[in-house]
Subunit: 408 residues, 2 copies
């Protein structure tokens, strides 16, 4: 029984995938449902078949491949990630988790000590456009969402058809609770916590919840030359103070939560007109919902003060949110033990980004492990993870599957 | 010799003009070079001819009409304004000054005591798009500017042709310095200084200079979920603090100067991405250039501190400016004396908006008088000036022309 994956195999597959949708800037462009997205998934299915796995595209367009275990009564352990990318994204986000899962399957399939549980490798569809494939797989994809247009220009409905799914039969793809033994996903960190701490493997404590609001300030649009300073009701001034207040509130409380205003629009938005209306996006993320609730209350109070001081009115509109998804302690424990046995240093951290694992946590014990992103960069052609870190991650994933296989 | 204009005539012409390009919202839409702009100017020329005036369209497309004086050796006194409007603008901005000038000409032409100086009534073209007509009339319109496209979709070159001018012979329209005795323009205030002070007539001390900059902050665009607060280089946060700093600096110094950030753009401008770049417009206006220079230095220093605090860099780019144009003390004195004799209360104020008078000041002693704008509103269908204030303004204009006619 081999104790490690074949690094050459792993890196070759990662390289082969990165050639599909390769961009001039050295990145990868495989937005969900694009021709290159379809091509990459077909390549992955070819590899799965080469490994003797049974390949199945579910009605949501997710690819599953199964390696039988020694005990047919046990539910499968699922490992994998996604192969779609953001526009002009990197070579590691998603792809690493899929090729590592394939290499784990190859190693386990070729070894003498075949696992007791069946092993499933999954390539979820459209992770970057709202973790869509796993959302469907756990029965949370609303029919109304099918009309939404993805970055590639296809609606989710048409995209699912292009992938070989059937948007009218999404109920058929839903994984029953308990139907899987565990879900484990290897992913790049997309941040710099591991790099800064000099750690090899990140043990994900959970995936943060994300809360979104649109915060609008209404004042009075007026002539920038003829309106004295004291007569102004400047909505942009109010929104600007709000941006600063969000930063102030978020950084005044210890913790790993983050708060961001990434977009600010104003009307009329001319250099010589005082803005009558300004709308800011507000995003808060944390593992603990009550922390976000406290931050929100403090931000709302500050916004009220700002509105009074600037002669404007403020309105918060909650748009969407995802709930925090803590990972399963058994998976966390397995990652810690396996990494330790391999001589790899570990750090516990939260995932600030959304991942398919947060959906799979609804169905079965789920967890994630991270490997370092150089300079914390992701969603850019400059996204980079060292070969050794990719191999380390795959080896820990292999060990974790073995560890979980031996439980219960 | 009548001591006052005919209010019925004045208001009827104002009403007739407002019907040309009338919008559903009760406003007026006559952007320069549009069909309705041309139609309004033709109506004005018809009125001029009815008054026995000699009408002339100069090569820049400005309409001039002349009433002969009793002393052919004297240079003309010029009065007027413009009839183009901003998109969906009001009924008074520009139009009041033109119909009042016509009514002054009618009153002087019909009276027994004809003025010594010839009287010229002018309807300048494209005031709203950069005081273009008067700029050409004083020889400051750069040939390169002719390719600029106006709001109506016509270039200045084509627009001038549409008005009956000749863009290739702009030198022919230039008024020689000293060729006019004076220029006086009646305009609505477009602000609320008169209304707040309960004054009837505003004596304009000068037209402010306007300085423009683009202020860009460069940080690092990164993932709003995976980038801890302390690792951010948030360009939008920097720009937001800048907006607040501009307001702070401008209001910390006593005076009538104003400073405005009316537009803020950011890249990439997504709710879940920390902005890597943000660009703010900065506009400062005052009658005194040295005040603006001091404000600018303070703002620049604050921007440098903000950049340091936020881990960004800042760059100021000066785009354009106009110099302050003080009005002529003789014209100011005439307005004050005439208004007082008519029992009207006066206030001295600066014009925060640009006007054709600032160009005419290059050629001859120039001045402006304002009448109150209800609620200070302008450039909107809700722009409103009471009938009595319109009539007061025209009567003061009449008296000022008589006063200036009697000088030297």
């Amino acid at each position: 029984m081999s104790s490690s994956v074949d690094a050459t195999n792993l890196l070759a597959r990662l390289r082969d995938l990165s050639a599909i949708g390769a961009t001039a800037s050295g990145g990868v462009h495989r937005p969900a449902y694009s021709d290159d997205d379809l091509a990459a998934r077909e390549v992955v299915r070819g590899w799965m078949r080469e490994l003797g796995m049974t390949v199945h595209v579910d009605t949501a367009g997710n690819t599953f491949a199964r390696l039988e275990g020694s005990d047919p009564a046990l539910p499968p352990i699922v490992i994998g990630s996604h192969t779609d990318t953001v526009p002009d994204g990197g070579r590691y986000d998603g792809a690493l988790g899929v090729v590592a899962a394939l290499e784990v399957a190859r190693t386990l399939g070729e070894g003498k000590g075949r696992p007791r549980h069946p092993l499933e490798v999954v390539d979820f569809q459209n992770e970057e456009g709202g973790i869509v494939g796993s959302k469907a797989a756990v029965g949370r994809l609303d029919a109304a969402e099918l009309s939404r247009t993805a970055v590639s220009g296809f609606t989710l409905r048409d995209g699912i058809r292009r992938l070989g799914g059937d948007p009218d039969r999404l109920d058929d793809c839903v994984l029953a609770t308990g139907s899987r033994a565990a879900y484990v996903e290897l992913h790049i960190e997309q941040g710099s916590v591991l790099e800064r701490g000099g750690n090899d493997i990140g043990i994900v404590e959970g995936i943060v919840g994300i809360w979104y609001w649109e915060v609008s300030f209404d004042g009075v649009a007026s002539h920038a030359g003829t309106t004295p300073m004291r007569d102004r009701h400047d909505a942009l001034l109010a929104a600007a103070r709000f941006v600063d207040a969000v930063h102030d509130v978020v950084t005044s409380v210890p913790g790993r939560h983050v708060g961001t205003v990434g977009r600010l629009t104003m009307h009329p938005g001319a250099p010589n007109v005082i803005a009558g209306r300004a709308v800011a996006t507000l995003e808060l993320r944390d593992l603990i919902a009550s922390t976000v609730e406290k931050l929100y209350q403090a931000i709302e109070a500050r916004a009220g003060e700002i509105a009074r001081d600037t002669g404007t009115t403020v309105h918060f509109r909650s748009t969407t949110h995802t709930t925090p998804a803590p990972t399963d302690p058994r998976v966390r424990g397995a990652i810690e033990r396996v990494a330790g046995a391999l001589g790899l240093s570990t750090a516990f951290l939260a995932s600030g980004a959304g991942h398919d694992a947060q959906h799979m946590a609804i169905v079965c014990p789920s967890g994630m492990l991270f490997v370092p992103s150089v300079n914390g960069l992701s969603h850019t052609p400059r996204e980079f993870t060292r070969d050794q870190d990719c191999v380390n991650g795959a080896n820990v994933l292999l060990g974790v599957v073995r560890h979980l296989d031996a439980l219960d």
